[in-house]
Amino acid sequence: MSTGGGTQNTVQKLPLEGIRVIDFTAVWAGPHVTQWLAVMGAEVIKIESRLRPDMIRAYWNLQSTGHSINSEFAEFNYGKKGCTLNMTQPRAREIVRELVGISDVVTENFGGAVMDRWGLGYAELAAIKPDIIMYAGSGFGRTGPYKEFPAFAGIAEAFAGLCHLNGYPGGDPRPMATFGYADVTSAEHGALAILAALHHREETGEGQYIDLSMTEVVSSLLFQPIMDYTMNGRVQGRQGNRDSVMAPHSCYRCRGDDEWVAIAVSSDEEWRSFCDAMGNPAWTGDERFRDALGRWRNQDELDALIGDWTRNHAHYEVAEMLQRVGVMAGPSLKMEEVIQDRHLRERGFHLDVDQPGLGTWCLAALPWRLSDVPPGNYEHAPELGEHNEYVFGELLSMSAEEIARLEEEQVIY
């Protein structure tokens, strides 16, 4: 791999080198947690089974390639190792216990108390490895009436009140931008909790159990409308691209095909610069727009007039013109523009990686730069069971025969 070639960099170590993670997570929320740990240098061993592959492997057009990899799986699982174990088999659970004995973290995000049913609950694991850190991610938490309930991001977002706030003024509540907004945000919260637990273990040698609820993650991200409600009993509505204070503050149509630019003006000074940048058309002299309150009260007219101006320019052009005079602005980027954006490119956010089955493609790195460590571990995402040899042979030092037998018995399967 090119810029992302973390693991080739032998001079320095990655922050989590030496930490091993046994990873039962699937779909988005879980794998994104362990992906963070992997990129930071932890050895993440993703456990799947042919009987129970990560459902996003199997998602669309699996058949198109001989590989069990698609873009989504790759995006959420790079940097990890993969092995297969058929957990319905008692022996498989034995093997997992052995793995746990030489690991630091165990992660899962099943729809229910699956780990307990397998006899792999925190109590059992702590008995094997007292300082183990166990992460359990779920939609509603591992306690309470819904602890056994499957959930997806959209459900948590709807329940916590995010969908209600997302949408156009006067329109319906809408599902949040990316499928799995709650997934990715929970994933980062989860990774943070794990790092905190690891830090505590460094200090005290104590492990612990982490119980993350997606619904609560979303709720904590909605503190502002929540506190407006708990303080004032007010239920905020959908603001679209508008702000409760700033005006102009919206997304304006530009010249190109479905091209838009976002502009926000937060002070009288910025307003003056903005008018200058537009060449002070007569309407900017309008009394109603002279002060901040006036602009806010008359933003419908204001937005229309600004739209007339932006319509004659490219979105990048407007953004750069305004940023140069200190006005907050940015083009509303399409996916392809994000990939090509010269700024992101120059910062090396996109990494070109070889992914068997996908060829060389450009993945989205994790959004961090540390000044003095390698960029991170961006090894390609594992095929189903790609690292069985390493896991069972090297880590658990099983003989080739034993491994072969277990494969036959569909334990390693």
Binding site: S266, S267, L293
Partner: protein
Amino acid sequence: MSLQALSGLKVVEWSEFVSGPYCGKLLADLGADVIKVERPSFGDRARRCGPFPEGIPHLEKSGLFLYLNTNKLGVTLNVESASGAQLLKELIKQADILVQNNPPRYLDELELDYEHLKNVSPRLLMTSIAPFGQTGPYRDYKSCNLISFHTSGIAFVNPSDGVDDTEAKPPLQGPEHQAGLLAGLSAAIGTMSAVFAQQMTGLGQHVDLSEQEALASITRRELAVYAVEGMGWTRLKGSQPGMASDIYQCSDGRVYLICFHDRTWESWLEVMGNPEWAYSELFLDIATRRENWDAAKVMIEEFTREHTVDEILRATEPRRIPCKPVNTAKQLVESELLAERDFFAEVGHKEAGNVKFPGAPCKLSETPWSVQRPAPLLGEHNEEVYCGRLGYTRQDLVRLRAGGVI
């Protein structure tokens, strides 16, 4: 709350630190409705100056600020923003008086000088306090207590009994904030006289008060003597004819004693037990005493050093010889004299708790000086003033705050 002398007089105070706020306080203490306009977040500079309880700085606990701003309503306003200037004008429209002590140039830049503001409200009475006034070559000079004292000449005659070594002892500024306080006081008088002019004509006024002049006016005696007798004041002790009002060292402190005129001089000689030296030609009458006062002073101090302050007081008071101890603030606050007059006021303040501070400098029999409310918290009355008086909504307030306007 009985009707006060200035009840109903509406004042906007767009001032900070000492001079403007003291002017506003004098009006507010007698019942004027004073709205103090402060910079959002930072507020009046005086808030940053001590004294603070236990010496721990706190925006709402500055003794200086608490004293200078009792009885006022407090709002925050950034006059540099378009929205802020608008609000200030709306406040001024509803007011009789604007008291401001901003630098003249700053006002011009904001186009909030008298010429502009009188178009907002033709009957506006605007009092402007500046270190050197609104006109003249020093108009835009900066100043502070030190500079005002020295440029007004008052420092040069301080201390009034001169110094023994003019090289080691430079001209001396007056104690903290005297300049600002006197400027504020003179401004309050200028303002009130303008109020009468306003009553006659219904027209506005611009009161232009210079701190330098407020102090120079205090040295009118020295200025006049110079004007008449061409007598240049030198600072060397004894170079001035004695006025025989002096500070004397006692065994346990100091007293201020005046025993100059024949009557008091004789009673004082009694107190000293009619010492011989006092009967020499040198001290026979006022004229000769004035000539030789330095000698007399030395002899008197020899006597006072032998006695305690109390002894001197007990001896002088029955004889009606003007004499008092040289007090510190401590002794002043604890003095029975002021207690009897029930001079110190006490007011509970949300943040600073009970604060004791100087009360009325003079008592008006029908319309008493009184404390209606403690100094405002920063922006405490935004809602009362902007919503209650100017008709904005609370949501507007939230926006104005977020925009840094209030």
